[in-house]
């Protein structure tokens, strides 16, 4: 028996190409206030893409509600007008998760940025979704606490966006992802009803809906409050930076360190191009080598001293050229700044790049990097690698010159091939950036029809009309021409409603 899928009803949603008619705009404006209801075509352009700027779609209207009640009213209005709804946090996502749907109501949550409650005895914080990730740690830092998930964009990305994407970060190797730190949420559902799920007390009877909502990429509803677990800061952190003659030695060092029983807080790997880019952008005085590792261990001081000494020894045995330990906190911070700014820094050595987010078993890193390098030679494109080696989450940046359409097409094709290599090695198409609009066409290569249908059933349980973020995550039945592989113009692109930069 085939149940209805959101895709079937999605087609019935009205998707006007241009801005909404004035009477409808006025009704949204009446909810959020004129200043927070954006409908002028020039202003709408600000919201036409997220961090994946190669996809652009103009929304019908953008509303910036200030409360759960205003979100409810906006959802009800959109439902009445049969308009799709897309939620947006800071718009830093790298998979097009917050890419508008033509004519949609884009609900921006950036005004909902209050910290509502902090409870140290019970180790939680309650925040609105627009709160910036780093601001959580800043808020509780003076008391000696922090929030663990640390995406590289943490100084600008929002908690609501983190929840939607199940964001990771360098330190997730030891501490887990957003989902492991999200205790509950308040959510506005498709019919405008509000439901509280989970909370500071764990395991209340019921399915682990919080576990499903985190990482659901805005397809299930709109989260308007989040309860996060907070952690006491570790007593000590020890950082080491090690250079290697090639990725193979660096990858062997990672394997040896993990095999020794150490659970590092983070192990990041960078190759020649990424090192060069980070140097150019941040002024770190790293040598020109083929490969480098940046590693943190944290915890009780004596444990850290022991594990960092063992890690240094293992890195040497694996063939490290040089090992540096930062003299002070400032130098440590600079090392991490070099790593965290690497994506942006690559802009200094190439006009354009595509970043991938595939995951492979950690033990395959050296082999897979070789395969990617061979792919680069075959396509005649340079690849910079800067990634979370500890959990095998690659971030190959395929460099190209966007002024040459043929080269851009090659870069897209090569990025797809990289994902296939990850799948061939038993991995995943995305470790932390999300599927979004970008990788939806590849979902069918990782999952069977039955897997996807099962996930669609979960979606239907939350949002039977498929009004939240249609066209994301699932290879949309309505756009069944979407095939993995070579880029094909999207129907909305052909009709002029969407375009690529």
């Amino acid at each position: 028996m085939k149940q209805e899928t959101p895709g079937a009803t999605q087609a019935e949603l009205k998707q006007p190409a241009g801005p909404l008619p004035d009477p409808l705009v006025s009704r949204f404006a009446a909810v959020v206030g004129d200043a927070y209801c954006i409908h002028e075509p020039a202003q709408l352009r600000t919201y036409e893409s997220d961090g994946l700027a190669s996809f652009r779609v103009t929304p019908g209207v953008v509303v910036l509600p200030a409360s759960t009640e205003e979100v409810v009213a906006c959802v009800k209005l959109a439902r009445e007008a049969r308009l799709p709804i897309v939620a947006r946090g800071s718009g830093t996502g790298l998979s097009g998760g917050a890419l508008p749907v033509p004519g949609c109501v884009l609900i921006g949550l950036s005004r909902m940025r209050r910290i509502l409650e902090v409870d140290y005895d019970n180790a939680f914080i309650r925040v609105q979704p627009g709160v910036i990730n780093l601001d959580v740690s800043k808020h509780i830092g003076p008391q000696g606490w922090y929030y663990a998930p640390d995406p590289s964009s943490q100084s600008v990305c929002s908690i609501g966006g983190n929840v939607a994407e199940n964001s990771g970060g360098a330190h997730c190797l030891k501490y887990g992802f957003t989902v492991n730190h999200t205790l509950g949420m308040r959510m506005v559902l498709h019919d405008g009803s509000v439901v509280d799920i989970g909370g500071p007390v764990p395991d209340a009877p019921g399915y682990d809906l919080a576990g499903v909502i985190v990482g659901s990429e805005g397809l299930l509803g709109i989260v308007t409050e989040v309860v996060l677990r907070i952690l006491r800061k570790p007593e000590a952190t020890r950082t080491l930076f090690a250079t290697f003659p090639s990725n193979t030695e660096a990858a062997n060092a990672v394997s040896a360190i993990i095999a020794s029983g150490i659970v590092p807080a983070a192990i990041e790997m960078m190759d020649t191009l990424a090192i060069a880019a980070a140097k150019a952008a941040t002024g770190v005085d790293w040598p020109d080598v083929d490969s480098a590792l940046l590693m943190d261990v944290d915890g009780v001081t004596e444990e850290c001293e022991h594990t960092s000494a063992v890690a240094v020894e293992l890195a040497r045995k694996a063939g490290a050229l040089e090992i540096r330990v930062p003299r002070d906190a400032a130098e440590r911070e600079l090392m991490w700044k070099g790593r965290k700014s690497a994506f942006a820094a690559v802009g200094r050595i190439a006009r354009n790049y595509l970043v991938q987010d595939g995951v492979i078993p950690r033990s395959e890193i050296a082999r897979v990097l070789q395969e990617i390098a061979q792919l680069g030679e075959r396509f005649g494109l340079r690849v910079a690698n800067v990634f979370h080696a500890g959990d095998g989450n690659l971030h190959p940046l395929v460099l190209f010159d966007g002024r040459d359409p043929a080269e851009e097409k090659k870069a897209e094709e090569m990025s797809g091939e990289i994902l296939r290599i990850c799948l061939k090695h038993g991995g995943s198409i995305t470790g932390e950036h999300g599927v979004g609009a970008d990788k939806a066409p590849y979902m069918g290569e990782m999952f069977t029809e039955q897997d996807l249908e099962t996930m669609q059933l979960v979606r239907c349980a939350f949002d039977p009309a498929g009004s939240f973020n249609p066209g994301k995550v699932f290879p949309s039945p309505r756009l069944c021409g979407d095939k993995p592989g070579l880029y094909q113009p999207h129907p909305t692109e052909l009709s002029g409603e969407a375009w690529r930069a």
């Binding site: 809906l209 959990d391 897997d451 239907c460 939350f462």
Partner: protein, 341 residues
Amino acid sequence: MARLTPGSVDEAQALLAEGGRRVLFVGGGTAMPPGPPVDLEVATGKLNRVVEYAPADQVVTVECGVTLAQLQTELGKNGQRLALDPPQPEKATLGGIVASNSFGPLRTRYGSVRDLIIGVSIVRADGTRAKGGGKVVKTVAGFDLPKLMCGSWGTLAFIATATFRVHPVPEQTLTLCARGGDPLELVRRVRGMQLEPAAMMAVREPGGWDVYLRFEGFGAGVRAQRDKLRDLEESRWPAPETGAVRVRFGALPSHVSQVAKALGPLRARIEWLPTLGVGVASCASVDPSALQGARRELMALGGWLVADGDWGPAPASLPLQRSVKERLDPGGLLAPGRFLA
């Protein structure tokens, strides 16, 4: 009622695909809640293979009928373990542990099964096989079906295989005990000193709480932490509770004294994870009115209590919970009458 023991996931799938029967999945029977009769029990005893184990990647995939003890033996050969320690590891199966969200004191550091499961393959009520997650420690592709299975009590689908992240066995382990300690004060003290116990558990004895801390890791760190808690005595970790009735409950960690008061009339031995706010009360038998009284008090504090198939009042999210159940098991065939569905 028939009871069948499929020898493979394919056989289990075929049983479900026949359709039309109310089904209960039976693992080690250590946490099975009572409920109305079914037409078919599917026992998982023969689905006891470790499907794939990659020590270098610290990832293992098992069939649902593998017992926790069997898995730990296998992982131990490579100095690794699954950081889950629910009671009765010789009997408890991984499928059952996932379905019942069983946990032990290691949850303090490593979290519960939802934090360690990374992939799952399931068979839906109509025999459809599906998977979610993956076999790498990090993936966000698709909805998180593995987490949906955690604590689903067999009502959503048959959990055929599950994939977990595993951890190294610690080099050294040391247990300390604060007899008659105040769990909340000790938690504050441990956090204040930035100590990192792998497990922390308060046990309610007639005289008050005994609070146990287990430190794990490399020798240097374990010794250093022990030295900072000179006033506590070294101890054995307390033997697991053995009562016939196990009552699970949750409340905010800061409500520990109210929790003790609320559960007092049960005359049960209480185990409480003081950093998290979950616990188990166990006793030989329980007086139903005492149980309802304890639940009322906990719920007034924002907590909950579940006993032997009695899940208590419906949560506010019940319509959504029901909706998930109806989509995945539209005929209501799986574990009928159990859980909220």
